[in-house]
Symmetry: C2
Subunit: 377 residues, 2 copies
């Protein structure tokens, strides 16, 4: 029996999925324990020079109505039409693997529920941290733990910019322009530098770890556009690297507190060594103490590697494995307010720069400071 | 339906499995999608003060012949009687999760084959890297990759000693004595400091990644007992940390070359920042580029976390999932000789210390050098 799958979207990630699959087809089939092949590639554009041109279709129904297609890789991005397509596939019992963080952050609960009802898988390893194994380790390897916190460097663009500021004394604007020239930042870099991309990823992690859907709108999100080169240098002299940290912690109240903001990472925390476009997630739990997962958080082949890993898992598990799920949560009151976030703070004001005692976000905001950045514990 | 499992051995790891399970039972059952309980604990010793004393048995047959027991956690260590017990369980269709690296390194191929035949799982996440998700990520998340190399810091004792030599200028003997006082090293520290422990772990990784059983006897293994404090300092001034690296790489010939030896790790490689008793594995593949997995490689709860993660996975998958396997290999000629290992080398001889051009292990051994340590690429 051969497993046939379809790839939705032939952009950077989708074309990477096809490329990596055919490069390693023999080994992939050995690991899957079954023959596999791409049957369709969905894209509205024409690719007359593609070696796989006979697989292209512009009509999603070709895929949906072909019972031979049992797995689908969704690499289109954006909520629609991805949501409609993915839902339709799952309703027909076709397992879906996606790299689409917007889709999972907005609709993950609904899609997981539909997958469960229809005995197929909705996998999304590629939606957080590109090539880095995060979702499956969190859900499987660390399943025996009471997880108290996850802190991640989940956006490569901002980490590249901060690394340039740090290593080469490059001002923010110049580092951003360089990132754009190198293709690490988009023409409109807002989603990256203002933290919205990292926010979607910490929503997915929070939902998975704590079992209820966390929406991006519930998460305090601050980017790096206000980080001054002087603060990067001063923090360095104090023994810290400034990183954009997407984190979630369990509060004493039982609520959870996800947030995205620049933080000072002490040099004895290995996260301070995560540089350039690399990403990492540091997980704290009562069994493991601390585990860190590190690698390339974006890019054609790294993201394709994660999508294909999920497709291979779907090919192996013809029976639904109820692999992961979380509850819907219209009521987001289990998400704590940023006001109650506590930390030590790096403070720069008229008196100079220093690290404060522990205080709440609310209190820190009342200070008359030019810079006020929390320290990662 | 409730899943009942047995724990073989009530030493450090086995008692950790029971402790962590009951601490997080409610969440574990939610994640497993089923009720779970420990039905037996096997140990020849008496534990009259244990809160679970009614679960103890000294007779393995109580477990083997109880059809209600569908999963077993093997935490005894050593090849026998662990091998006989594990084989008997698998032959009865009971899934086994083990923390026993000796067992997997010596008998993994046989046990995986028996598990496959009997439609149950033989899991061993805990046998390499303690709490760190390594086996499942390698096998599942990275399954789409052509993996070219894995390099790991897989022994906490030696990493602790090297960190003390590095950070505190402590001579080897003194650092070893401190590790023994802190319980990080055994009274007879040979297995750790001479590299045998790391060797077993790289055998398991090599077998899993390249699909054929690699035996410890096929792997060149050199420990850290001959590392001089002066070389640690000189390497530092040149921009390197000395680490005990257990690695495997695919050679151009198609053979694989596993080895355990001290190596110089450049400071721009994040592995150089893995300190104290922490472990890490850096995986190189054509899709991912590089992924690193980091955490506590030993200890009661970290190792228990990995064992339990596997038990939970077994509880979820009542149908065999053919999760991982490799071929037996009486003929080890696919393992290349260390003579053909090539690297740049740190060389200290009458002329001083320097980093050489690339040369083979065979050529490096011919030099009249007091120290000769390869550099990790």
């Amino acid at each position: 029996m051969s497993v046939k799958f379809a790839v939705l979207g032939h952009g950077v990630v989708g074309s990477g999925v096809v490329e990596l699959f055919y490069k390693n087809k023999e080994n992939i089939e050995k690991r899957a324990g079954t023959e596999m092949d791409v049957k369709y590639i969905l894209d509205l554009r024409d690719f007359p020079d593609s070696p796989y041109k006979e697989k292209f279709t512009k009509d999603f129904n070709d895929i949906l109505n072909d019972d031979e297609v049992t797995a689908v890789a969704e690499c289109m991005g954006g909520v629609e039409p991805a949501f409609t397509f993915v839902r339709s596939c799952l309703e027909k019992g076709k397992s879906v693997s996606t790299s689409n963080k917007e889709l999972v952050a907005e609709k993950g609960d609904i899609l997981l529920e539909i997958a469960k009802k229809n005995c197929c898988n909705f996998f999304f390893e590629a939606s957080v941290g590109g090539a880095i194994p995060i979702i499956r380790p969190l859900h499987k390897c660390l399943a025996a733990n009471d997880i108290s916190a996850v802190a991640g460097i989940l956006n490569g663009t901002t980490n590249f910019i901060l690394t340039k500021m740090y290593n080469e004394n490059m001002p923010f604007d110049e580092a951003l322009a360089l990132a754009q020239r190198l293709g690490y930042a988009e023409k409109d870099p807002t989603a990256d530098i203002e933290g919205h991309d990292a926010c979607r990823k910490i929503c997915i992690i929070s939902s998975l770890v704590f079992g209820k859907h966390v929406y991006p709108k519930s998460v305090y999100t601050k980017g790096i556009s206000q980080i001054a080169l002087d603060d990067v240098k001063t923090a360095d002299s104090m023994g810290f690297a400034i990183k954009l940290i997407a984190s979630v912690r369990k509060q004493e109240s039982g609520k959870i507190l996800p947030a995205v903001m620049p933080m000072l990472v002490p040099y004895d925390n290995i996260m301070s060594n995560v540089s350039d476009v690399f990403n990492a997630a540091l997980v704290s739990g009562d069994g493991i103490d601390k585990v860190m997962l590190y690698g390339r958080g974006a890019g054609k082949l790294p993201t394709a590697s994660a999508v294909l890993g999920d497709v291979i898992d779907s090919a192996k598990h013809k029976v639904n494995v109820f692999s992961q799920s979380w509850e819907s949560a219209d009521d987001q009151s289990f998400v704590d307010s940023i006001e109650s976030f506590t930390a030590k703070w790096y403070i720069r004001d008229a008196e100079g720069s220093r690290i404060s005692e522990k205080m709440s976000f609310a209190d820190a905001q009342k200070l008359d400071a030019q810079a006020c950045i929390p320290v990662l514990e």
